[in-house]
Protein backbone atom coordinates (compact mmCIF):
# COMPACT_ATOMS: atom_id res chain seq x y z
CA UNK A 1 0.00 0.00 0.00
CA UNK A 2 1.18 3.52 -0.75
CA UNK A 3 2.76 5.23 2.20
CA UNK A 4 3.67 8.59 0.72
CA UNK A 5 0.37 10.15 1.55
CA UNK A 6 -0.15 13.69 0.34
CA UNK A 7 -1.95 14.11 3.60
CA UNK A 8 -3.60 11.75 5.96
CA UNK A 9 -5.82 14.57 7.06
CA UNK A 10 -8.02 14.60 3.99
CA UNK A 11 -11.22 14.83 6.00
CA UNK A 12 -9.97 17.23 8.65
CA UNK A 13 -10.71 20.90 8.07
CA UNK A 14 -8.84 23.89 9.44
CA UNK A 15 -10.48 26.75 11.24
CA UNK A 16 -10.97 29.90 9.22
CA UNK A 17 -12.41 33.29 10.03
CA UNK A 18 -14.96 35.25 8.10
CA UNK A 19 -13.09 38.45 7.27
CA UNK A 20 -15.84 40.06 5.27
CA UNK A 21 -19.29 39.48 3.84
CA UNK A 22 -20.25 41.29 0.63
CA UNK A 23 -23.88 41.03 -0.38
CA UNK A 24 -24.47 40.17 -4.01
CA UNK A 25 -27.72 39.62 -5.83
CA UNK A 26 -30.67 38.23 -3.86
CA UNK A 27 -29.76 35.10 -1.87
CA UNK A 28 -26.09 35.38 -2.85
CA UNK A 29 -23.21 36.61 -0.75
CA UNK A 30 -19.48 36.77 -1.18
CA UNK A 31 -17.67 35.53 1.91
CA UNK A 32 -14.03 36.48 2.45
CA UNK A 33 -12.25 33.88 4.51
CA UNK A 34 -8.82 33.52 6.03
CA UNK A 35 -7.40 30.52 7.83
CA UNK A 36 -6.69 31.16 11.50
CA UNK A 37 -3.36 29.36 11.33
CA UNK A 38 -0.91 31.49 9.29
CA UNK A 39 1.04 28.37 8.29
CA UNK A 40 -2.09 27.09 6.63
CA UNK A 41 -2.58 30.45 4.91
CA UNK A 42 0.92 30.25 3.47
CA UNK A 43 0.54 26.64 2.39
CA UNK A 44 -2.74 27.26 0.57
CA UNK A 45 -2.58 27.68 -3.17
CA UNK A 46 -5.23 26.91 -5.73
CA UNK A 47 -6.11 26.91 -9.39
CA UNK A 48 -9.19 28.69 -10.73
CA UNK A 49 -12.06 26.21 -10.82
CA UNK A 50 -11.02 24.38 -7.69
CA UNK A 51 -13.28 24.27 -4.66
CA UNK A 52 -13.11 24.16 -0.88
CA UNK A 53 -15.19 22.14 1.55
CA UNK A 54 -16.84 24.59 3.93
CA UNK A 55 -17.91 23.46 7.39
CA UNK A 56 -20.34 25.53 9.36
CA UNK A 57 -19.63 24.27 12.82
CA UNK A 58 -22.42 22.15 14.17
CA UNK A 59 -24.31 22.04 10.88
CA UNK A 60 -22.31 20.26 8.23
CA UNK A 61 -20.13 20.63 5.21
CA UNK A 62 -20.67 21.73 1.63
CA UNK A 63 -18.36 22.09 -1.39
CA UNK A 64 -18.13 25.64 -2.72
CA UNK A 65 -15.96 26.85 -5.58
CA UNK A 66 -13.37 29.50 -5.00
CA UNK A 67 -14.15 32.86 -6.57
CA UNK A 68 -10.88 34.61 -5.84
CA UNK A 69 -7.87 34.19 -8.10
CA UNK A 70 -4.62 32.44 -7.13
CA UNK A 71 -2.89 35.71 -7.90
CA UNK A 72 -4.35 37.24 -4.73
CA UNK A 73 -3.41 34.85 -1.90
CA UNK A 74 -4.33 35.17 1.75
CA UNK A 75 -8.04 35.74 1.49
CA UNK A 76 -10.21 33.06 -0.02
CA UNK A 77 -13.44 34.34 -1.52
CA UNK A 78 -16.43 32.13 -2.02
CA UNK A 79 -19.69 33.21 -3.58
CA UNK A 80 -22.53 31.39 -1.91
CA UNK A 81 -26.14 30.93 -2.86
CA UNK A 82 -28.45 30.32 0.06
CA UNK A 83 -29.89 26.92 -0.73
CA UNK A 84 -29.16 23.99 1.59
CA UNK A 85 -28.74 23.65 5.34
CA UNK A 86 -25.04 24.57 5.35
CA UNK A 87 -25.42 27.66 3.22
CA UNK A 88 -28.46 28.71 5.20
CA UNK A 89 -26.39 28.48 8.36
CA UNK A 90 -23.52 30.34 6.71
CA UNK A 91 -25.87 33.23 6.01
CA UNK A 92 -26.58 33.47 9.74
CA UNK A 93 -22.91 34.12 10.50
CA UNK A 94 -21.24 37.49 10.97
CA UNK A 95 -17.88 38.93 10.16
CA UNK A 96 -15.38 37.55 12.67
CA UNK A 97 -17.15 34.22 13.12
CA UNK A 98 -15.27 30.97 12.75
CA UNK A 99 -15.95 28.31 10.18
CA UNK A 100 -13.72 25.50 8.94
CA UNK A 101 -12.28 24.78 5.52
CA UNK A 102 -10.69 21.88 3.70
CA UNK A 103 -9.03 22.07 0.35
CA UNK A 104 -8.49 23.21 -2.26
CA UNK A 105 -9.77 20.16 -4.06
CA UNK A 106 -10.28 19.05 -7.61
CA UNK A 107 -8.76 19.90 -10.93
CA UNK A 108 -9.09 23.52 -11.99
CA UNK A 109 -8.51 25.33 -15.24
CA UNK A 110 -4.96 24.74 -16.56
CA UNK A 111 -3.52 28.26 -16.58
CA UNK A 112 -0.18 26.98 -17.85
CA UNK A 113 -1.85 25.57 -20.91
CA UNK A 114 -3.82 28.74 -21.47
CA UNK A 115 -0.81 31.07 -21.46
CA UNK A 116 -0.09 32.71 -24.78
CA UNK A 117 -3.47 31.62 -26.16
CA UNK A 118 -6.75 33.35 -26.86
CA UNK A 119 -9.40 32.70 -24.24
CA UNK A 120 -13.17 32.56 -24.43
CA UNK A 121 -14.92 32.38 -21.09
CA UNK A 122 -18.63 31.60 -21.07
CA UNK A 123 -20.58 31.86 -17.82
CA UNK A 124 -24.20 31.17 -17.10
CA UNK A 125 -25.94 32.18 -13.88
CA UNK A 126 -24.03 31.18 -10.75
CA UNK A 127 -21.35 29.74 -13.06
CA UNK A 128 -19.78 33.19 -12.87
CA UNK A 129 -18.64 32.41 -9.32
CA UNK A 130 -15.86 29.96 -10.21
CA UNK A 131 -15.19 31.66 -13.54
CA UNK A 132 -14.43 34.92 -11.73
CA UNK A 133 -11.37 33.23 -10.29
CA UNK A 134 -10.14 32.40 -13.78
CA UNK A 135 -11.07 35.83 -15.11
CA UNK A 136 -9.21 37.68 -12.40
CA UNK A 137 -6.19 35.40 -12.67
CA UNK A 138 -5.96 36.21 -16.37
CA UNK A 139 -6.55 39.94 -15.85
CA UNK A 140 -3.91 40.03 -13.10
CA UNK A 141 -1.40 38.62 -15.58
CA UNK A 142 -2.99 40.04 -18.70
CA UNK A 143 0.16 40.19 -20.81
CA UNK A 144 0.63 36.43 -20.69
CA UNK A 145 -2.54 35.69 -22.62
CA UNK A 146 -3.89 36.47 -26.07
CA UNK A 147 -7.35 37.84 -26.86
CA UNK A 148 -9.85 37.55 -24.07
CA UNK A 149 -13.63 37.30 -24.43
CA UNK A 150 -16.10 36.94 -21.57
CA UNK A 151 -19.69 36.02 -22.34
CA UNK A 152 -22.07 36.04 -19.42
CA UNK A 153 -25.70 35.06 -19.60
CA UNK A 154 -27.99 35.79 -16.70
CA UNK A 155 -31.69 35.13 -16.31
CA UNK A 156 -32.61 38.80 -15.95
CA UNK A 157 -30.87 42.09 -15.21
CA UNK A 158 -31.19 41.53 -11.44
CA UNK A 159 -29.45 38.17 -11.61
CA UNK A 160 -26.02 39.35 -12.74
CA UNK A 161 -23.36 38.28 -10.28
CA UNK A 162 -20.50 40.69 -9.59
CA UNK A 163 -22.50 43.16 -11.64
CA UNK A 164 -20.61 46.33 -10.73
CA UNK A 165 -17.23 44.71 -10.64
CA UNK A 166 -17.79 43.37 -14.14
CA UNK A 167 -19.15 46.71 -15.31
CA UNK A 168 -15.58 47.99 -15.15
CA UNK A 169 -14.65 45.59 -17.90
CA UNK A 170 -16.91 47.35 -20.36
CA UNK A 171 -14.44 50.17 -20.83
CA UNK A 172 -11.34 48.01 -21.12
CA UNK A 173 -9.86 47.34 -24.49
CA UNK A 174 -8.02 44.20 -23.51
CA UNK A 175 -11.19 42.22 -22.90
CA UNK A 176 -14.40 41.85 -24.83
CA UNK A 177 -17.21 41.58 -22.29
CA UNK A 178 -20.56 40.49 -23.69
CA UNK A 179 -23.59 40.26 -21.51
CA UNK A 180 -27.00 38.77 -22.16
CA UNK A 181 -30.19 38.29 -20.21
CA UNK A 182 -32.88 35.74 -20.96
CA UNK A 183 -35.74 38.05 -20.12
CA UNK A 184 -36.13 41.71 -19.36
CA UNK A 185 -39.56 42.22 -17.92
CA UNK A 186 -38.98 45.82 -16.92
CA UNK A 187 -37.65 46.87 -20.30
CA UNK A 188 -34.48 48.44 -18.90
CA UNK A 189 -31.94 46.27 -20.65
CA UNK A 190 -29.89 47.88 -23.39
CA UNK A 191 -27.75 44.89 -24.25
CA UNK A 192 -28.50 41.53 -25.73
CA UNK A 193 -31.71 39.75 -24.76
CA UNK A 194 -31.79 36.03 -25.39
CA UNK A 195 -29.76 32.96 -24.63
CA UNK A 196 -26.03 33.30 -24.30
CA UNK A 197 -25.32 31.50 -27.57
CA UNK A 198 -26.78 34.50 -29.35
CA UNK A 199 -23.63 36.41 -28.41
CA UNK A 200 -21.48 34.24 -30.63
CA UNK A 201 -22.40 36.33 -33.65
CA UNK A 202 -20.37 39.13 -32.17
CA UNK A 203 -17.05 37.34 -31.91
CA UNK A 204 -14.51 35.76 -34.20
CA UNK A 205 -12.84 32.66 -32.78
CA UNK A 206 -9.61 31.19 -34.04
CA UNK A 207 -9.95 27.43 -33.63
CA UNK A 208 -6.20 26.99 -33.69
CA UNK A 209 -5.31 28.99 -30.62
CA UNK A 210 -8.46 29.53 -28.62
CA UNK A 211 -9.18 27.81 -25.33
CA UNK A 212 -12.68 27.97 -23.94
CA UNK A 213 -13.72 27.86 -20.28
CA UNK A 214 -17.38 27.19 -19.61
CA UNK A 215 -19.25 27.35 -16.39
CA UNK A 216 -23.01 27.25 -16.04
CA UNK A 217 -26.02 24.98 -16.02
CA UNK A 218 -26.03 21.73 -18.06
CA UNK A 219 -28.49 23.14 -20.57
CA UNK A 220 -26.07 25.98 -21.36
CA UNK A 221 -23.25 23.49 -21.97
CA UNK A 222 -25.31 21.61 -24.47
CA UNK A 223 -25.92 24.68 -26.59
CA UNK A 224 -22.60 26.44 -26.12
CA UNK A 225 -20.57 23.32 -26.86
CA UNK A 226 -22.58 22.81 -30.03
CA UNK A 227 -21.88 26.41 -31.03
CA UNK A 228 -18.15 25.90 -30.40
CA UNK A 229 -18.08 22.66 -32.35
CA UNK A 230 -19.81 24.45 -35.21
CA UNK A 231 -16.92 26.88 -35.16
CA UNK A 232 -14.41 24.03 -35.34
CA UNK A 233 -13.05 24.44 -31.83
CA UNK A 234 -11.42 21.09 -30.97
CA UNK A 235 -13.10 19.24 -28.12
CA UNK A 236 -9.86 19.14 -26.13
CA UNK A 237 -9.77 22.94 -26.16
CA UNK A 238 -13.15 23.22 -24.49
CA UNK A 239 -13.11 23.13 -20.71
CA UNK A 240 -16.31 22.69 -18.72
CA UNK A 241 -16.82 22.71 -14.99
CA UNK A 242 -19.31 20.07 -13.83
CA UNK A 243 -21.50 20.56 -10.81
CA UNK A 244 -22.27 17.44 -8.84
CA UNK A 245 -23.46 16.56 -5.37
CA UNK A 246 -19.98 16.32 -3.89
CA UNK A 247 -19.46 15.36 -0.29
CA UNK A 248 -15.98 14.22 0.66
CA UNK A 249 -14.13 16.15 -2.03
CA UNK A 250 -11.41 13.52 -2.31
CA UNK A 251 -12.92 10.81 -4.47
CA UNK A 252 -14.07 8.48 -1.74
CA UNK A 253 -17.74 8.99 -0.94
CA UNK A 254 -18.85 8.30 -4.51
CA UNK A 255 -21.65 10.84 -4.81
CA UNK A 256 -20.08 12.84 -7.65
CA UNK A 257 -19.02 9.89 -9.79
CA UNK A 258 -19.88 10.10 -13.48
CA UNK A 259 -18.75 7.33 -15.75
CA UNK A 260 -15.22 6.43 -14.74
CA UNK A 261 -14.57 9.84 -13.20
CA UNK A 262 -15.02 11.40 -9.80
CA UNK A 263 -15.88 15.05 -10.36
CA UNK A 264 -14.21 16.10 -7.13
CA UNK A 265 -10.80 14.73 -8.02
CA UNK A 266 -10.83 14.22 -11.80
CA UNK A 267 -12.85 17.44 -12.21
CA UNK A 268 -14.77 19.57 -11.62
CA UNK A 269 -13.04 21.05 -14.68
CA UNK A 270 -12.92 18.59 -17.56
CA UNK A 271 -11.90 18.81 -21.16
CA UNK A 272 -15.04 18.27 -23.16
CA UNK A 273 -13.21 15.51 -25.01
CA UNK A 274 -12.87 13.61 -21.75
CA UNK A 275 -16.55 13.55 -20.92
CA UNK A 276 -18.36 13.72 -24.24
CA UNK A 277 -18.91 9.94 -24.18
CA UNK A 278 -20.56 9.96 -20.74
CA UNK A 279 -24.29 10.29 -21.13
CA UNK A 280 -25.02 11.67 -17.68
CA UNK A 281 -22.17 14.21 -17.72
CA UNK A 282 -24.02 17.09 -19.31
Amino acid sequence: MKKEAETDLIFQPNLARIEGILPQIAEHRLFQLRFVDEDVVRAFSHAPGQFVEVTVLGVGEAPISISSPPTRPGIIEICVRKAGSVTNALFELQKGDLIALRGPFGRGFPLDLFRGQDLLLVAGGLGMAPLRSLLQAVLDDRASYGDLVLMYGARNPDDILFKYELLGLMNRTDIKYLLSVDVDEEGIWRQYIGVVTGLFERVELNPENTFCGLCGPPIMYRFVVQELLNRDIPTERIFVSLERMMQCGVGKCGHCAIGEYYCCTDGPVFKYSEISHIKEAI
Binding site: G58, G60, T265
Partner: protein, 334 residues
Protein backbone atom coordinates in the same frame (compact mmCIF):
# COMPACT_ATOMS: atom_id res chain seq x y z
CA UNK B 1 3.40 -25.90 4.44
CA UNK B 2 1.89 -26.65 7.81
CA UNK B 3 -1.28 -28.09 9.24
CA UNK B 4 -3.88 -26.76 11.61
CA UNK B 5 -6.19 -29.35 13.08
CA UNK B 6 -9.80 -28.21 12.92
CA UNK B 7 -10.17 -29.26 16.54
CA UNK B 8 -7.46 -26.76 17.41
CA UNK B 9 -8.91 -23.78 15.60
CA UNK B 10 -10.78 -22.39 18.58
CA UNK B 11 -7.81 -22.78 20.90
CA UNK B 12 -5.59 -21.12 18.35
CA UNK B 13 -8.01 -18.25 17.91
CA UNK B 14 -8.37 -17.82 21.64
CA UNK B 15 -4.63 -17.55 21.97
CA UNK B 16 -4.44 -15.03 19.14
CA UNK B 17 -7.31 -13.09 20.69
CA UNK B 18 -5.09 -12.26 23.65
CA UNK B 19 -2.85 -10.17 21.41
CA UNK B 20 -5.22 -8.89 18.77
CA UNK B 21 -8.95 -8.76 18.22
CA UNK B 22 -10.01 -11.86 16.33
CA UNK B 23 -12.94 -11.60 13.92
CA UNK B 24 -14.30 -14.71 12.25
CA UNK B 25 -17.53 -16.00 10.74
CA UNK B 26 -19.71 -16.99 13.64
CA UNK B 27 -23.33 -17.08 14.56
CA UNK B 28 -25.07 -15.63 17.57
CA UNK B 29 -27.50 -18.46 17.98
CA UNK B 30 -26.57 -21.15 15.51
CA UNK B 31 -28.28 -19.28 12.71
CA UNK B 32 -26.93 -16.48 10.54
CA UNK B 33 -23.21 -16.19 9.87
CA UNK B 34 -21.55 -12.85 10.47
CA UNK B 35 -18.02 -11.61 10.91
CA UNK B 36 -17.91 -10.90 14.59
CA UNK B 37 -15.43 -10.78 17.44
CA UNK B 38 -14.51 -14.21 18.71
CA UNK B 39 -15.92 -13.62 22.17
CA UNK B 40 -19.27 -12.42 20.86
CA UNK B 41 -20.37 -15.45 18.91
CA UNK B 42 -20.24 -19.19 18.58
CA UNK B 43 -17.56 -20.61 16.33
CA UNK B 44 -19.06 -23.69 14.76
CA UNK B 45 -16.39 -24.47 12.20
CA UNK B 46 -18.82 -23.43 9.49
CA UNK B 47 -17.09 -20.64 7.59
CA UNK B 48 -19.77 -20.46 4.92
CA UNK B 49 -20.49 -17.08 3.42
CA UNK B 50 -21.43 -14.28 5.79
CA UNK B 51 -24.46 -12.14 4.93
CA UNK B 52 -22.38 -8.95 4.89
CA UNK B 53 -18.76 -9.19 3.84
CA UNK B 54 -15.74 -8.63 6.06
CA UNK B 55 -15.67 -5.04 4.88
CA UNK B 56 -17.68 -4.18 8.00
CA UNK B 57 -14.48 -4.67 10.00
CA UNK B 58 -12.46 -2.22 7.91
CA UNK B 59 -15.27 0.10 6.92
CA UNK B 60 -18.08 -0.01 9.48
CA UNK B 61 -21.70 0.79 8.70
CA UNK B 62 -21.46 3.97 10.72
CA UNK B 63 -18.44 5.60 12.26
CA UNK B 64 -17.41 8.89 13.76
CA UNK B 65 -14.68 10.53 11.71
CA UNK B 66 -14.20 13.93 13.34
CA UNK B 67 -15.05 15.67 16.53
CA UNK B 68 -15.46 19.40 16.86
CA UNK B 69 -15.29 21.46 19.98
CA UNK B 70 -15.50 25.22 20.03
CA UNK B 71 -11.82 25.68 19.35
CA UNK B 72 -10.49 22.45 17.96
CA UNK B 73 -11.15 19.84 15.33
CA UNK B 74 -9.76 16.38 15.75
CA UNK B 75 -9.81 13.21 13.78
CA UNK B 76 -11.36 10.16 15.39
CA UNK B 77 -9.30 7.10 14.71
CA UNK B 78 -10.55 3.85 16.08
CA UNK B 79 -8.24 1.04 15.03
CA UNK B 80 -6.69 -1.82 16.87
CA UNK B 81 -4.72 -4.89 15.90
CA UNK B 82 -7.15 -7.25 14.27
CA UNK B 83 -7.00 -10.77 12.96
CA UNK B 84 -9.51 -11.64 10.24
CA UNK B 85 -9.87 -15.38 10.34
CA UNK B 86 -11.85 -17.31 7.78
CA UNK B 87 -11.98 -14.66 5.15
CA UNK B 88 -12.86 -16.12 1.75
CA UNK B 89 -10.62 -15.62 -1.30
CA UNK B 90 -13.21 -13.47 -3.08
CA UNK B 91 -13.40 -11.16 -0.08
CA UNK B 92 -9.64 -11.01 0.18
CA UNK B 93 -9.59 -9.98 -3.46
CA UNK B 94 -12.24 -7.39 -2.65
CA UNK B 95 -10.11 -5.99 0.15
CA UNK B 96 -7.18 -5.68 -2.24
CA UNK B 97 -9.47 -3.86 -4.62
CA UNK B 98 -10.72 -1.51 -1.93
CA UNK B 99 -7.12 -0.90 -0.83
CA UNK B 100 -6.39 0.49 -4.27
CA UNK B 101 -9.47 2.67 -4.18
CA UNK B 102 -8.93 4.00 -0.69
CA UNK B 103 -5.39 5.10 -1.50
CA UNK B 104 -5.80 6.28 -5.09
CA UNK B 105 -4.62 9.71 -6.23
CA UNK B 106 -2.63 9.89 -3.02
CA UNK B 107 -5.82 10.63 -1.15
CA UNK B 108 -5.59 8.06 1.57
CA UNK B 109 -8.70 7.45 3.61
CA UNK B 110 -7.26 7.71 7.11
CA UNK B 111 -9.99 5.74 8.82
CA UNK B 112 -9.86 2.79 6.47
CA UNK B 113 -6.09 2.87 6.27
CA UNK B 114 -5.49 2.93 9.99
CA UNK B 115 -7.57 -0.21 10.37
CA UNK B 116 -6.17 -1.86 7.28
CA UNK B 117 -2.60 -1.47 8.46
CA UNK B 118 -3.43 -3.33 11.63
CA UNK B 119 -5.20 -6.26 10.01
CA UNK B 120 -3.76 -9.72 9.67
CA UNK B 121 -5.62 -12.07 7.34
CA UNK B 122 -6.03 -15.79 7.58
CA UNK B 123 -7.97 -16.75 4.48
CA UNK B 124 -9.71 -20.06 3.98
CA UNK B 125 -9.78 -21.27 0.40
CA UNK B 126 -13.07 -22.68 -0.82
CA UNK B 127 -12.81 -26.39 -1.52
CA UNK B 128 -16.40 -26.19 -2.69
CA UNK B 129 -18.60 -23.13 -3.27
CA UNK B 130 -20.06 -21.99 0.07
CA UNK B 131 -23.31 -21.13 -1.69
CA UNK B 132 -25.19 -21.53 -4.97
CA UNK B 133 -24.66 -17.88 -5.78
CA UNK B 134 -20.86 -18.07 -5.74
CA UNK B 135 -19.36 -17.30 -9.15
CA UNK B 136 -15.83 -16.11 -8.44
CA UNK B 137 -14.34 -18.23 -11.22
CA UNK B 138 -16.71 -16.74 -13.76
CA UNK B 139 -15.78 -13.32 -12.38
CA UNK B 140 -12.15 -13.94 -13.22
CA UNK B 141 -11.12 -15.03 -9.75
CA UNK B 142 -10.29 -18.31 -8.16
CA UNK B 143 -11.53 -20.19 -5.11
CA UNK B 144 -8.08 -19.77 -3.60
CA UNK B 145 -5.55 -16.96 -3.48
CA UNK B 146 -2.20 -16.56 -5.21
CA UNK B 147 -1.11 -13.65 -3.04
CA UNK B 148 -2.26 -10.85 -0.80
CA UNK B 149 -2.87 -12.92 2.32
CA UNK B 150 -0.86 -13.53 5.45
CA UNK B 151 -1.98 -17.12 5.86
CA UNK B 152 -4.16 -19.22 3.60
CA UNK B 153 -5.82 -22.41 4.79
CA UNK B 154 -7.01 -25.28 2.62
CA UNK B 155 -9.64 -27.67 3.89
CA UNK B 156 -8.28 -31.19 3.98
CA UNK B 157 -10.98 -32.90 5.98
CA UNK B 158 -10.21 -32.82 9.66
CA UNK B 159 -7.35 -30.38 9.29
CA UNK B 160 -6.42 -27.31 7.28
CA UNK B 161 -3.25 -27.10 5.26
CA UNK B 162 -1.64 -23.74 5.88
CA UNK B 163 0.44 -21.58 3.55
CA UNK B 164 2.03 -18.35 4.53
CA UNK B 165 1.88 -15.42 2.14
CA UNK B 166 3.87 -12.85 4.10
CA UNK B 167 6.50 -12.47 6.74
CA UNK B 168 3.80 -12.01 9.26
CA UNK B 169 2.21 -15.17 8.00
CA UNK B 170 5.45 -17.03 8.66
CA UNK B 171 5.34 -15.81 12.25
CA UNK B 172 1.80 -17.08 12.63
CA UNK B 173 2.73 -20.48 11.25
CA UNK B 174 5.39 -20.68 13.94
CA UNK B 175 2.57 -20.87 16.48
CA UNK B 176 2.43 -24.18 18.31
CA UNK B 177 -0.97 -25.07 16.89
CA UNK B 178 0.49 -25.32 13.42
CA UNK B 179 1.99 -28.76 12.99
CA UNK B 180 4.29 -30.11 10.40
CA UNK B 181 2.56 -31.84 7.50
CA UNK B 182 3.63 -34.97 5.66
CA UNK B 183 5.26 -35.53 2.31
CA UNK B 184 2.05 -35.89 0.38
CA UNK B 185 0.56 -32.55 1.48
CA UNK B 186 1.88 -30.79 -1.61
CA UNK B 187 0.11 -33.19 -3.90
CA UNK B 188 -2.98 -33.05 -1.77
CA UNK B 189 -2.95 -29.28 -2.04
CA UNK B 190 -2.89 -29.38 -5.82
CA UNK B 191 -5.71 -31.88 -5.72
CA UNK B 192 -7.82 -29.63 -3.52
CA UNK B 193 -7.11 -26.61 -5.69
CA UNK B 194 -7.96 -28.46 -8.85
CA UNK B 195 -11.16 -29.85 -7.43
CA UNK B 196 -12.15 -26.45 -6.08
CA UNK B 197 -11.57 -24.81 -9.42
CA UNK B 198 -13.94 -27.20 -11.12
CA UNK B 199 -16.60 -27.49 -8.48
CA UNK B 200 -18.16 -24.12 -9.21
CA UNK B 201 -21.28 -24.60 -11.26
CA UNK B 202 -22.55 -21.04 -11.39
CA UNK B 203 -21.25 -19.24 -14.42
CA UNK B 204 -23.48 -16.37 -15.52
CA UNK B 205 -21.03 -15.06 -18.12
CA UNK B 206 -19.41 -11.95 -16.71
CA UNK B 207 -16.81 -11.46 -19.45
CA UNK B 208 -19.49 -11.36 -22.09
CA UNK B 209 -21.54 -8.97 -19.97
CA UNK B 210 -18.51 -6.70 -19.72
CA UNK B 211 -18.19 -6.73 -23.51
CA UNK B 212 -21.87 -5.95 -23.92
CA UNK B 213 -21.58 -2.99 -21.58
CA UNK B 214 -18.45 -1.79 -23.31
CA UNK B 215 -20.36 -1.79 -26.56
CA UNK B 216 -23.11 0.27 -24.89
CA UNK B 217 -25.69 -2.27 -25.95
CA UNK B 218 -28.22 -1.88 -23.14
CA UNK B 219 -30.45 1.12 -23.70
CA UNK B 220 -32.50 3.10 -21.26
CA UNK B 221 -35.49 0.81 -21.69
CA UNK B 222 -33.41 -2.19 -20.66
CA UNK B 223 -32.53 -0.65 -17.32
CA UNK B 224 -35.90 0.97 -16.70
CA UNK B 225 -37.63 -2.33 -17.34
CA UNK B 226 -35.50 -4.04 -14.73
CA UNK B 227 -35.84 -1.14 -12.33
CA UNK B 228 -39.62 -1.46 -12.29
CA UNK B 229 -39.16 -4.17 -9.72
CA UNK B 230 -36.36 -2.52 -7.69
CA UNK B 231 -37.64 -1.67 -4.23
CA UNK B 232 -34.83 0.80 -3.63
CA UNK B 233 -33.56 -0.82 -0.43
CA UNK B 234 -29.84 -0.38 -1.03
CA UNK B 235 -29.12 -3.91 0.15
CA UNK B 236 -27.06 -4.82 -2.93
CA UNK B 237 -24.66 -2.01 -2.09
CA UNK B 238 -24.47 -2.64 1.62
CA UNK B 239 -23.56 -6.32 1.30
CA UNK B 240 -21.09 -5.77 -1.55
CA UNK B 241 -17.48 -6.25 -0.45
CA UNK B 242 -16.21 -3.58 -2.86
CA UNK B 243 -18.90 -0.93 -2.41
CA UNK B 244 -17.59 1.89 -0.27
CA UNK B 245 -19.82 4.88 -0.91
CA UNK B 246 -20.74 6.81 2.18
CA UNK B 247 -22.82 9.70 3.41
CA UNK B 248 -21.44 12.34 5.75
CA UNK B 249 -23.50 14.09 8.41
CA UNK B 250 -22.94 16.07 11.57
CA UNK B 251 -24.58 15.43 14.91
CA UNK B 252 -24.50 17.33 18.17
CA UNK B 253 -22.47 15.64 20.85
CA UNK B 254 -21.30 16.44 24.33
CA UNK B 255 -19.38 19.71 24.28
CA UNK B 256 -19.59 20.18 20.54
CA UNK B 257 -20.50 18.00 17.64
CA UNK B 258 -19.24 15.07 15.68
CA UNK B 259 -19.01 14.26 12.01
CA UNK B 260 -20.08 10.75 11.08
CA UNK B 261 -20.18 8.76 7.94
CA UNK B 262 -22.37 5.84 7.13
CA UNK B 263 -22.80 3.50 4.20
CA UNK B 264 -24.68 5.03 1.33
CA UNK B 265 -26.12 3.55 -1.82
CA UNK B 266 -26.10 4.80 -5.40
CA UNK B 267 -29.53 3.26 -5.98
CA UNK B 268 -31.12 6.10 -3.99
CA UNK B 269 -32.30 9.23 -5.78
CA UNK B 270 -30.89 11.51 -3.08
CA UNK B 271 -27.43 10.11 -3.67
CA UNK B 272 -26.96 12.42 -6.66
CA UNK B 273 -29.73 14.98 -6.20
CA UNK B 274 -28.25 18.45 -6.03
CA UNK B 275 -29.37 21.21 -3.71
CA UNK B 276 -31.17 22.89 -6.58
CA UNK B 277 -33.36 19.81 -6.94
CA UNK B 278 -31.75 18.85 -10.24
CA UNK B 279 -30.83 15.20 -10.40
CA UNK B 280 -28.37 14.06 -13.05
CA UNK B 281 -29.47 10.47 -12.42
CA UNK B 282 -33.20 11.00 -12.22
CA UNK B 283 -34.68 7.54 -12.74
CA UNK B 284 -34.43 4.24 -10.92
CA UNK B 285 -33.21 2.71 -14.15
CA UNK B 286 -30.35 5.18 -14.49
CA UNK B 287 -29.31 4.38 -10.94
CA UNK B 288 -29.52 0.65 -11.46
CA UNK B 289 -27.37 1.10 -14.56
CA UNK B 290 -24.86 3.10 -12.57
CA UNK B 291 -24.59 0.44 -9.90
CA UNK B 292 -23.73 -2.28 -12.38
CA UNK B 293 -21.78 -0.22 -14.90
CA UNK B 294 -19.61 0.99 -12.06
CA UNK B 295 -18.54 -2.57 -11.33
CA UNK B 296 -18.40 -4.00 -14.81
CA UNK B 297 -17.29 -1.03 -16.85
CA UNK B 298 -15.84 1.94 -15.01
CA UNK B 299 -13.82 0.00 -12.45
CA UNK B 300 -12.13 -1.76 -15.35
CA UNK B 301 -11.14 1.62 -16.81
CA UNK B 302 -9.70 2.77 -13.51
CA UNK B 303 -8.27 -0.39 -12.01
CA UNK B 304 -7.93 -2.77 -14.96
CA UNK B 305 -10.22 -5.21 -13.21
CA UNK B 306 -13.91 -5.41 -12.49
CA UNK B 307 -15.18 -4.35 -9.10
CA UNK B 308 -17.28 -7.49 -8.88
CA UNK B 309 -15.48 -10.42 -7.28
CA UNK B 310 -18.30 -12.87 -7.83
CA UNK B 311 -19.25 -13.40 -4.20
CA UNK B 312 -22.94 -13.35 -5.10
CA UNK B 313 -24.02 -11.45 -1.99
CA UNK B 314 -26.08 -8.93 -3.94
CA UNK B 315 -27.98 -11.79 -5.53
CA UNK B 316 -28.45 -13.30 -2.08
CA UNK B 317 -29.86 -10.16 -0.54
CA UNK B 318 -31.85 -8.70 -3.43
CA UNK B 319 -35.44 -9.79 -2.90
CA UNK B 320 -36.40 -9.10 -6.51
CA UNK B 321 -33.57 -10.66 -8.48
CA UNK B 322 -31.49 -7.64 -9.40
CA UNK B 323 -28.15 -8.87 -8.11
CA UNK B 324 -25.03 -9.19 -10.23
CA UNK B 325 -25.86 -12.71 -11.37
CA UNK B 326 -29.28 -11.80 -12.70
CA UNK B 327 -28.04 -8.58 -14.30
CA UNK B 328 -25.20 -10.44 -15.99
CA UNK B 329 -27.68 -12.99 -17.28
CA UNK B 330 -29.97 -10.25 -18.53
CA UNK B 331 -27.04 -8.57 -20.28
CA UNK B 332 -26.02 -11.83 -21.85
CA UNK B 333 -29.51 -12.24 -23.21
CA UNK B 334 -29.29 -8.96 -25.11
Amino acid sequence: MKRLKKDNVVSFLKEMNKKEKVFCPQSVDGRDLMFMPLEEGVYTGNIGKTTISAKTVLFPQTEEILSFTEKSISKTIDASKTLLFGIRPCEMKAIQFVDQFMTRDNFIDPHYQSRREKVTTIAIACHEPPSDTCFCVDAGGMPYLENGYDVQLFDAGDYYMALSGSEHGEEILANKYFEKGDEEDKERLEEIKNKALHSQKNSPGMQKAIEILRENKPDEAFWEGLADRCINCGGCVYVCPTCTCFNVYDLPSQGGHIRCRSWDACVHAGFTRETSGHNPRPTQGSRLARRHEHKLKFDIVNFKESGCVGCGRCSDTCPVGLGAIEIIQELNAL
